[in-house]
């Protein structure tokens, strides 16, 4: 094992050091350059003990300093310590957001919490001999909030700085207790889903280590590299992981070692259970690379395998055609077990979907989550944005893209409610869910529209609002931009951003400049509104009057800007002879008055009649008509509601 490790370390160090070779000596003789920097490489051995729910791991981490400054320490994320007890920053934020009901925590026995204890850190160089014990100087830090009890960032001082372009290799050993699921990671029954399960290096930038504490509302950020992982699990258990299985070896102790390897990724997750059923299919496309799709599905969902494959194909096709190709030759789709709460999450070349035992075909929730999580292979996996600070780049762009795919490929999608413990579905075939309402998630945005400017670092959003700003608001302003510019221009900008940012860590400015370039114009005024401010949009039709003056009708329309944010909108008036007029308003003043003298009386007026501005938090006030159908509408729905109330009375008359 140690000899194999030494060879691997040497190989990884060589792969990670092209700059050093170039500086000091001959240029490396190699094949095509790696697509990613491969500056954070992991060779890991991990043993899972299902009975005690612990994992024991040892990793050789090879890291190259890509910055222009020397690094005097390493910083590791030890995410699982967020779930040791209630004193971590993650827990404190979760409790704050949960309100008075924290029974989910108080009911957990000690055995269902997590821990990640680093037991050894040694500096390696050259051969197999450990050079220095680094554990003694290692200490936890809290760079975000100073919480001394938070143990999710481990700083490891180095005896000698790692200069720009230089490489270091360290061996890290740890023991971690697998919790009952927290944040999609953990175990229920025999179903293990393991993410953020190893001490993972942060990202060193010119300004220093970008290694945030683990927050309740944020995800992750790390560098690209090669992962070579050997997972020891009970024999007969199915394993799914980032990468491709390279070998499988039975041990004399009744276990099996599964080796998975993947280049050019920034994370590694894995799952194991004896219950998975394995199915495979192939994605093929004229212009895009073929991809082997491997599905690990629960027995009770086996009949829904086709839905998973169809949704994954649709994503690889649509995102590939719109933005750029998926470069890996395989993808693993995991159907999580009931109660594991591991569903709806993304990891490089592996993602978790989610469905129900009873899942009507006309409700595309399983497709929605599959497209979204598969879509993250592009936004997050290939474009490696900092999810602590700019979560909107992956979540928002992906939510927008997912909604587009669902509308194009999986319509109609009907509204559903679940009864009797949330199990029995009831589909409302009269209520089709639209892209802007369901896909872009308007309702969630509306409640948090003014809570924070999007440019606020994600980890600092107010409790309970991060999702609405990150996912919903971004999807809505992108969709608005699509309607404003046209899809072709927006798609051009997004594909430029994708091409420039693949295997990199882009910033918001990278995105905005790509969109400006794709649109062929400067949209800074727009990004100032949607990204740099917390202003909300609300245009309204203030008044509509039309009165006969002599032979003509004098019509006056006053439009208002009730929100603080600005956007150019059209104003349309319809007359009783069927004619229409349309004015374009720059939307800057608080109100504007339009007047017409025509032979016909006005019937109705509307601001933004084409519904371009999807961020408008109140669309009902956008129009007025002189022949309102209000009473008819109120009668329709009051009658139905009254019927429901009468039925409610008869239901509880059981007790009388």
């Amino acid at each position: 094992m140690r000899r194999r490790h030494a060879a691997l370390v040497a190989l990884l160090v060589a792969l990670a050091m092209p700059a050093t070779f170039a500086r000091g000596g001959q240029a490396p003789v190699s094949a095509a350059p790696a697509p990613s920097p491969r500056n954070a490489n992991y060779s890991i051995d991990v043993d899972l003990d299902p009975a005690s729910r612990t994992i024991t791991g040892r990793a050789v981490v090879t890291w190259r300093n890509l910055t222009s400054k020397p690094a005097s320490e390493l910083r590791f994320h030890t995410y699982w310590n967020a779930w040791r007890d209630t004193t971590s920053t993650w827990m404190r934020e979760w409790i704050r957001g949960a309100g008075p009901d924290t029974s989910e925590l108080t009911r957990r026995p000690k055995s269902e919490w997590a821990s990640m204890d680093v037991t050894a850190i040694r500096l390696l160089a050259g051969g197999t001999t450990a050079m220095a014990d680094l554990l003694g100087g290692a200490h936890y830090i809290a760079p975000d909030d100073g919480n001394a009890e938070d143990r999710t960032v481990l700083a490891v001082p180095l005896p000698k700085s790692v200069g720009p372009g230089e490489t270091i290799a360290v061996e890290v050993s740890w023991i971690a207790h697998v919790p009952r699921t927290f944040a999609r990671t953990g175990v229920v029954g025999n179903s293990f889903f393991l993410a953020q399960w190893f001490p993972k290096l942060g990202v060193l930038e010119d300004g220093g280590w970008n290694t945030h504490q683990f927050h309740a509302s944020t995800e992750f950020f790390s560098d690209y590299g090669v992962y070579d992982v050997r997972m020891t699990v009970p024999r007969g258990w199915v394993v799914g992981a980032t990468g491709v299985e390279r070998s499988r070896t039975d041990t004399p102790t009744g276990k099996t070692v599964h080796q998975y390897v993947q280049e050019d990724v920034h994370d590694f997750a894995w799952t194991t259970s004896p219950d998975y059923i394995v199915k495979t299919e192939r994605f093929e496309h004229k212009r895009l690379q073929a991809v082997e799709m491997r599905l690990l599905i629960q027995p009770e969902h086996a009949s829904q395998a086709d839905r998973y494959f169809m949704a994954t194909r649709a994503t690889l096709r649509s995102y590939g055609e719109w933005y750029g190709p998926y470069p890996y030759v395989h993808i693993t789709i995991v159907d999580p077990a009931f109660q594991t709460e591991a569903g709806g999450m993304e990891y490089p070349t592996l993602f978790t979907g989610g469905t129900n035992w009873l899942a009507p075909l006309t409700v595309t929730d399983p497709e929605d989550v599959t497209v979204h999580e598969c879509g993250h292979q592009f936004w997050y996996g290939l474009v490696g944005n900092n999810e602590f600070e700019h979560a909107w780049i992956d979540e928002g762009l992906n939510t927008f893209s997912t909604a587009r795919v669902i509308e194009e490929t999986f319509s109609p999608n009907f509204y559903e409610r679940r009864f009797f413990g949330g199990v029995v579905p009831w589909v409302f075939h009269d209520i089709a869910m639209s892209r802007e309402i369901a896909g872009d998630r308007m309702a969630g945005y509306r409640t948090a529209a003014r809570s924070d400017a999007q440019q606020t670092p994600s980890w600092r959003y107010a409790s309970g609002t991060g999702g609405a700003i990150t996912y919903n608001k971004t999807a809505l302003w992108l969709h608005t931009l699509e309607r404003y510019l046209g899809w072709r221009r927006l798609q051009r900008g997004m594909s430029l951003f994708f091409a420039r940012s693949t295997f990199k860590h882009p910033t918001p400015e990278d995105f905005f400049s790509a969109i400006n370039e794709g649109a062929g114009r400067d949209l800074s005024w727009y990004f100032d509104q949607v990204y740099r401010s917390s202003n909300a949009f609300d245009y309204a039709l203030g008044t509509l009057t039309t009165e006969k003056r002599g032979d003509a009708y004098h019509t006056e329309v006053m439009v208002q800007r009730r929100g603080e944010a600005l956007f150019p909108v059209d104003v349309q008036v319809i007359f009783d002879d069927g004619s229409r007029v349309r004015e374009h308003w720059d939307g800057r003043e608080r109100w504007k008055l339009y007047t017409w003298d025509r032979s016909a009386a006005a019937v109705s007026a509307e601001v933004d009649p084409d519904n371009v501005l999807l961020l408008d938090i109140d669309r009902t006030n956008n129009s007025r008509t002189l022949t309102p159908q209000t009473n008819k509408a109120a009668r329709q729905w009051t009658a139905r509601w009254f019927l429901w109330l009468q039925d409610l009375v008869q239901t509880y008359a059981f007790f009388v």
Partner: protein, 348 residues
């Protein structure tokens, strides 16, 4: 054998007494509807105010506009917060049964309205049981006189039975679904298996609930038919009757439940959806209210068939220990008087 034949006879007798008294069905329907009407006025106002003279109203009049509903919901207060897609068609009863069984309860904003409507039901119950037990029209004055007479007795009975319901829907429900269910399914990774456990717990919860309901029915019947003053006595008498005739009582109860299930199946097929329009509104009113009438009728049939069963098995004219007739005499006294005077039983 006797039980099942009496049960069948009581079913037919009870249902025919109800169906031959359409004024009681319509009266109860109207009374409970009027009790809930003020809430409907509030809802109408809330929708009208929010829509104003917007063009959105046309879309809302044409069908369920989900985007509009989300806007409405975001600003709704009080009763208006209960407007949701579940009011559409057959989703309404399913949603209400689900909320009862899962312990969600009555929405807080409607607690007053629903309680008032149930109080109206309680007030009418005494007169209704009396009417059905006699099997003949009794006139408005006598009907409401009996309602008034038994209302306060039923309030006392309600305290006793209510305590049992409170324990069953509160503590026992929480024990089963908030403690036992999570404990049993803690490591279950199959939704199907977890639901099977849930159904089992539903059954365990429903059994005592239905048992109390059946006993309560016969307690009310005995209180009225035998003109009992003591509600503790009526409750004990009801329990004794059910204990001595379990097959008949339970069989009748479930047969009536089956009728309700058939009515629901028909409503499921015919219930209008979310599309608007004047004709659709008419459909909602006609088909929807037909469903409510079916529910009211079934509820009345529970009362009537229980009374018929009791009278068939026990409170017939040859029943020993006849009460001294005191005006307004009880149905049992009337039956005896008729037997003495005319040599006939008082049944249709």
């Amino acid at each position: 054998m006797r039980s099942s034949s009496e049960s069948a006879r009581a079913f037919w007798r009870g249902w025919s007494r109800v169906l031959l008294a359409p004024e009681t069905i319509l009266g109860v329907w109207l009374a409970t509807a009027l009790a809930a009407l003020p809430a409907a006025i509030l809802m109408h106002d809330a929708i009208s105010t929010q829509l104003g003279s917007s063009l959105t109203a046309s879309k809302v009049a044409a069908g369920f506009d989900y985007g509009w509903w989300e806007e409405f919901e975001a600003q709704a207060r009080g009763v208006a917060t209960t407007l949701a897609p579940v009011v559409i068609g057959a989703a309404a009863p399913v949603s209400n049964w689900s909320s009862l069984i899962d312990g969600s309860g009555i929405p807080r904003s409607l607690l007053v309205q629903v309680t008032f409507a149930l109080t109206v039901w309680l007030f009418l119950s005494g007169g209704l049981i009396d009417r059905f037990a006699r099997g003949r029209r009794i006139g408005t004055r006598a009907f409401f006189g009996t309602c008034g007479l038994f209302f306060f007795r039923f309030l006392r009975l309600g305290l006793l039975i209510g305590a049992a319901y409170y324990v069953l829907t509160g503590w026992f429900h929480a024990l089963l679904f908030d403690v036992l269910f999570p404990w049993i399914t803690h490591e279950v990774t199959s939704e199907r298996a977890a639901f099977a456990w849930r159904v089992a717990l539903y059954s365990i919860w429903l059994l005592p609930l239905l048992a109390v309901n059946i006993v309560a029915d016969y307690a009310k019947v005995r209180a009225v038919v035998e003109d009992r003053r003591s509600m503790l006595g009526a409750l004990a008498a009801g329990a004794r009757f059910v204990a001595r005739h379990p097959v008949a009582a339970v069989g009748l109860y479930f047969t009536n439940t089956l009728v309700l299930a058939v009515c629901f199946s028909l409503y499921l097929l015919a219930a209008p959806g979310a599309h608007g329009g004047d004709w659709r509104l008419l459909e909602v009113l006609v088909i929807g209210q037909a469903w409510i009438l079916a529910r009211v009728t079934t509820k009345l049939a529970f009362m009537s068939t229980s009374a018929a069963l009791f009278q068939g098995l026990l409170a017939h004219a040859e029943y020993t220990a006849p009460p001294v007739p005191v005006w307004p005499e009880s149905p049992a006294a009337e039956a005896i008087e008729n037997a003495v005077r005319f040599g006939v039983r008082s049944e249709p």
